[in-house]
């Protein structure tokens, strides 16, 4: 079970309703948000029902083994993206890279993926064809095999186009132990590259908000980059791909899971000008905008330079930067030093950011 149950990447329908679980007898969009409400659903509905069969490890992927066999990472994710095609990619790319990255965030080498489709009656075969092509290309690119799958069709009245679920298996090397609970005071926070790119790309073609931009989604498989980082021999403590909820959500989750405070320096955040401009136009915070080809890494201070160098030598990490530190203060919270020298709390997003007028 992952804590990003339904990966609705900046889907309009995904704005979160702020009502807590107990106050509402039905599922609302917020439950799929990957934020506080999804967490409640897992904690108060699913886990109690699963009882002894469940695990409480809530990282991006689960680490399992059979007897004395190799440790495996196992992950699943579902994709309902609107629009299905956006600058730089499609739901197909996200479906493959999303699960590949969940596995990679445990330090595993992704190997096998399943693909299950739920299709709305009336979906254009052309569109499905394009998506399938994208999935094939992304899988080949990532070096994973698509070994099993399923297709179901629902009435044109239920569902919206194409839903894809992918589940993946990866293999962990000996000695690799990467978990959200391993951040320690003194550790350094690294960012693999420019933030906010995917979210801006998708938002630019959303009805009612369209704006012209050359920016394309950064969707990419990250296991090669992770291999390079682990390959330095450094003990990487935490890896996270900041998708829905952006860097803010990831850092907040890590801060809570590890019980450390995290301090970031705004001036050091790699925000490309074009993301700054789009966020300025709509009134968004780049820290809360989704990324699909980036990772956040937390490593011991002594390993930081080594890992940073390895990242910068990899095509997906050329713009890697140190952005902050884990501190023994405000544990469980993320705080930023603003450009002017003040401080502000970087909050866990309640749901998707809404463009504002004020």
């Amino acid at each position: 079970m992952t804590d990003a149950m339904e990966r609705t990447v900046l889907d309009f329908e995904g704005w979160v309703c702020p009502m807590p679980l107990r106050d509402f007898p039905t599922i609302v969009m917020g439950h799929g948000g990957g934020g506080a409400m999804s967490g409640e659903l897992i904690e108060h509905l699913f886990l109690p029902a699963y009882g002894a069969a469940a695990t409480t490890d809530l990282g991006d992927s689960a680490v399992v083994s059979v007897g004395a066999g190799p440790r495996l990472a196992f992950s699943t994710d579902s994709f309902v993206v609107k629009p299905m095609f956006f600058p730089g990619g499609s739901i197909g790319d996200l479906a493959v890279n999303g699960t590949v990255n969940d596995l990679a965030m445990s330090g595993a080498t992704p190997m096998f993926l399943s693909t299950a489709f739920i299709l709305q009656e009336g979906t254009a075969l052309d569109d499905l064809g394009r998506i399938a092509e994208a999935i094939g290309a992304a899988a080949r690119d990532a070096g994973v095999r698509l070994v099993t799958g399923d297709t179901k069709v629902v009435d044109s009245g239920s569902g919206d186009g194409v839903y894809i679920n992918t589940a993946g298996i990866g293999v962990l090397r000996e000695g690799v132990d990467i978990r959200p609970t391993r951040a320690e005071v003194g550790d350094v926070v690294l960012m693999s590259g420019d933030i906010g790119v995917h979210g801006v790309a998708v938002m630019s073609c959303r009805e009612g908000l369209e704006f012209g931009t050359t920016i394309e989604s950064d969707t990419a498989p990250l296991h090669g980059l992770v291999d390079a980082m682990i390959g330095t021999g450094a003990d990487v403590h935490v890896l996270r791909d900041p998708t829905r909820g952006g860097v803010s959500a990831s850092l907040n989750e890590i801060a809570r899971a590890s019980g450390v405070g995290i301090e970031i320096v705004e001036r050091d955040l790699p925000v490309p000008q074009i993301v700054k401009d789009a966020c300025g136009l709509l009134g968004l915070d780049a820290l809360q905008v989704a990324n699909e080809g980036k990772l956040v890494a937390i490593v011991a201070a002594t390993d930081a330079e080594l890992v940073l160098e390895a990242m910068r030598n990899h095509p997906l990490g050329v713009a890697a930067q140190r952005i902050g530190t884990c501190v023994d203060a405000h544990r469980g919270m993320v705080v930023a030093n603003t450009g002017l020298g003040g401080t502000r709390v970087v909050d866990l997003p309640i749901g998707e950011q809404l463009p504002r007028i004020c």
């Binding site: 012209g212 050359t214 300025g280 136009l281 004020c358």
Partner: protein, 99 residues
Amino acid sequence: MCLAIPGRVVTLEERDGTQMAEVDFGGVRKDVCLQYIPGVEIGEYVVVHVGFAIQRLDEQSAIETLANFEKMGILEEEFGDGFELAAKQAGVVDEGVRP
């Protein structure tokens, strides 16, 4: 009242009898209604709020304002605060109203 940002007019077009424009915000482009800025020309900067240009941006004024802010720093450096200077020279730290 709010989020209004400056952008550069790139193209002009009349749509349904209304003056519209494509405005460039540093690489991000958006359709904006220019009906409230009569006689605007391509290359001019306007202040945009919810899809409407509400005022021209006075570039000269912007440049002057920034220059004034720069000057404040220079004056401070060159002349400083007389008392502060004296205090420093006397080896006394002046707390004043600074935090």
